[in-house]
């Protein structure tokens, strides 16, 4: 196994090494969240990828789809492949990232994500879909996974007093990225379009370069604290609290604990329910309030949900620093259960305000689930391998990314085929999602501290720091 020293590379890439990212005295830790945001605001673009779908069905026909143009169903795979590779990259690179430090990981993420766009531009130019799958899906997806987990441990180390708030700030960027990417993509496609071109190639090249630059700025700013650093006035607790350990669990050992699988289930169920309703928000709003919510208003509604998704990431993760992670998830599941079950009622009463309000609160908890999980992992497994463990846990997200939409679409189709009116077909879906949250509540309720037999010994910890 390579050591940290061996991981240090020479030559021009020396700058990327962990040893060159150790903060000098006087460095402000508040520079680290913007460094993380540089990455997360970029990779959050993935949520806005669907804006390219329709234009990419007209690459040949320009004004309308030609027979040889790509189909929407084929294009849908680009996003799915990217999310799968996000999970895989996060799971398999966590340990490497832990060894080489955040700068090298963020640099690699920038090359992968920006490069993925550039390769996809070539695929669009040559009209070869497999190149787009490879570019944005596989290579870009790896950039997503690496970029997502790269600043997490660094932030937790810089903010031992407020780990939830720190990771919430970064992961908030992932929620906000789509709000920037969506109008930017539309504007760029408009700029590059001509009577013979829908403008996707130029947009991909421009966005690839912009994102690469932004992420590299983040990699330049990021620093890790020197060994033994602590914020002024902060005294690390000498003993573990009930649900906050001062010990450390190795990433391989964490996989042997029931706590890892409980948290995997907690994240998976929270995300499944959220993705499930997020995917149908536009259609649901129009069908539950026919004639009152237009297609344009529904698009605005989806945008509003993105905003609350982002706000929830910061709000709930910060709140968890005060009320505890377990209690925060208890609120997600209990309040979520009530709100999911109440959404059909808002349709029956015809209250758009309540419908929008319930949905917005649900979205804050969906985002909050993502943002609070790193601090929850830190509380349960300690700081040493939190980045790598977080990476492994993100496979729950990939699973939910498939499970949520499939579950919702299948249930809806089944009901409509059995004669249930479209406006009513959402009720059962929402009740089933509420049921998933009940299971999540139970899993979270079962959460206990990790058995001491899984903790690293002082000698193991010292060896891991040196190695």
């Amino acid at each position: 196994m390579a050591t940290a020293a061996q991981a240090d590379s020479g030559g021009l890439l020396h700058w990327l090494d962990r040893s060159h990212t150790v903060a000098k005295p006087g460095f402000s830790r508040w520079l680290v969240p913007p460094a993380a945001l540089c990455v997360h605001l970029c990779i959050g673009q993935v949520y806005a990828f669907s804006v390219f779908n329709l234009p990419m069905t007209k690459l040949i026909g320009i004004t309308e789809s030609a027979p040889d143009d790509w189909k929407l169903t084929e294009l849908g795979w680009i996003f799915s492949i990217a999310i799968v590779f996000l999970g895989l990259a996060a799971a398999f690179t966590g340990t490497w990232l832990d060894r080489v430090g955040p700068r090298k990981a963020m640099f690699t993420a920038a090359l992968c994500f920006g490069g993925g766009f550039l390769i996809s531009a070539l695929g669009v130019y040559l009209h070869e879909l497999w190149i787009v799958y490879l570019g944005y899906g596989v290579i870009g997806g790896c950039g997503l996974g690496l970029g997502y987990i790269s600043p997490v441990k660094t932030l937790i180390t810089w903010f031992p007093d407020r780990p939830g708030m720190a990771t919430g700030m970064a992961i908030m960027g992932f929620g906000g990225g789509a709000m920037i990417a969506s109008p930017l993509s539309v504007w760029l496609m408009d700029y590059f379009s001509s009577p013979t071109d829908v403008g996707v190639t130029g947009t991909f090249i421009t966005m690839g370069l912009i994102y690469m630059f932004f992420m590299l700025v983040g990699a330049t700013i990021v620093r890790v604290p020197a060994q033994g650093w602590a914020p002024e006035g902060y005294v690390a607790p000498a003993e573990s609290k009930k649900m906050v350990t001062t010990a450390h669990v190795h990433v391989d050992e964490a996989l042997k604990t029931p706590q890892f699988y409980l948290l995997w289930g907690v994240l998976c169920l929270n995300v499944t329910a959220g993705i499930g309703v997020l995917g149908q928000a536009s259609a649901m709003s129009q069908e539950m309030f026919p004639g009152q919510i237009t297609a344009a208003a529904a698009a605005g509604f989806v945008g509003l949900l993105s905003l609350f998704n982002m706000i929830g990431r910061f709000f709930w993760a910060s709140t968890s620093d005060y009320i505890g992670r377990r209690n925060t998830y208890m609120i997600f599941f209990a309040l979520g259960l009530a709100l999911y079950a109440a959404v059909p009622w808002t349709g029956q009463t015809g209250s758009i305000i309540l419908f929008v309000a319930f949905y917005c609160i649900i979205m804050t908890m969906y985002g909050g689930g993502f943002a609070t999980i790193p601090a929850y992992l830190r509380d349960i497994f300690g700081v040493r391998y939190v980045g790598a463990i977080h990476g492994r846990l993100l496979t729950a997200w990939s699973t939910a990314g498939v499970l949520g939409p499939v579950l919702v679409n299948y249930i809806r189709e089944y009901q409509i085929n059995n004669g249930v009116p479209k406006a009513d077909a959402y009720s059962v879906t929402m009740y089933i999602m509420a049921g998933l949250l009940l299971v999540g509540f139970l899993l979270n309720w079962l959460m206990t501290p990790v058995d001491k037999k899984h903790h690293m010994t002082e000698a193991e910890l010292k060896a891991s720091m040196e190695g």
Binding site: G26, L31, P34, L37, M179, I180, E232, A297, G303
Partner: protein, 42 residues
């Protein structure tokens, strides 16, 4: 170890630049979203 909370003048400029670098695009995105969302209540 000196504390990072004591922000020097140079650090203040760095902080302002770094937060503006991420804050300005984010605010632009939020304003865009709110403008579109306003349609929902018209």
């Amino acid at each position: 170890m000196s504390d990072s909370e004591n922000v020097s003048g140079a650090n203040t400029i760095k902080l302002a630049l770094a937060w503006s670098f991420v804050g300005i695009p984010l605010i632009w995105g939020v304003l865009n979203t709110l403008t579109k969302a306003a349609l929902l209540f018209q």
